[in-house]
Point group: C2
Chain length 160, copies 2
Amino acid sequence: MKRKLSSIEMFPIGFVRSTRVELEDDNWDQENVRIELDLEQFSEEALTGLSDFSHVEVLFYMDQVIPEKIEKSARRPRNNPRWPLVGIFSQRGKNRPNQIGLTICKLKRVEGAVLYLEGLDAVNGTPVLDIKPWMEEYAPRGEVFQPSWVSEMMKSYWKK
Amino acid sequence: MKRKLSSIEMFPIGFVRSTRVELEDDNWDQENVRIELDLEQFSEEALTGLSDFSHVEVLFYMDQVIPEKIEKSARRPRNNPRWPLVGIFSQRGKNRPNQIGLTICKLKRVEGAVLYLEGLDAVNGTPVLDIKPWMEEYAPRGEVFQPSWVSEMMKSYWKK
């Protein structure tokens, strides 16, 4: 069975408001960050019960990516020569097909149609595609492992 | 600052092949499932190094959702009267804006441009939007909690 590769249309459900306005690699926990739902499409009812969860998964559209830089094959993470050449789907770099960012954030509080978060690695103005509550049943099951370049790369990622 | 709500265009990077062809709520671990990357856009290099990771995050487009059923406000999960009315962004139901599904799966093996997975809750033919390696540094940080209806709803979700 061959499926037609038709394009898919999405809309922002809201936007990121962050004290970080320029793309940088590290120290994301330094920032104050919130998501404002788009009030033309949603009311605060779309967030009913969300504060019963400690964390949310935020899916966002990395709209500052330069289309010509999108990698479809393999590259070294952060172009660091000390790290191995890995496929674009074997890393989380931003220059990727469909430009979707995905991060689990601590939910500090919900006020009306605004979510206050900790640990969202998206710059101010980033369009948000979806918000899902983190459920422990969706956590990785079985043994978890990863290559050593990841821990090295992530050393200062969240650091304040 | 008011951002224009312009639409976002995405393309499938591949498709799900699963022994499950009809949407059902539970028992997802019963199925044999793989993702075939679209070979017109990608080669197996896009997966270089992926098998050094135990798990991947799969983002997919739930194309069988009926547009008229998309919830923008609140509903009871699975329309179960015993569970509370929660916002669409406070649950992971499929009838949601942008129809994005997201699941962390065990990576069994990679063969060429095909990923063999365990625990993907997407039916045969589902377009895939992105694949990201699971990194422990992206796990929820701090105390994790969730409301009790979640564990009840998820009781047979993965069950074989």
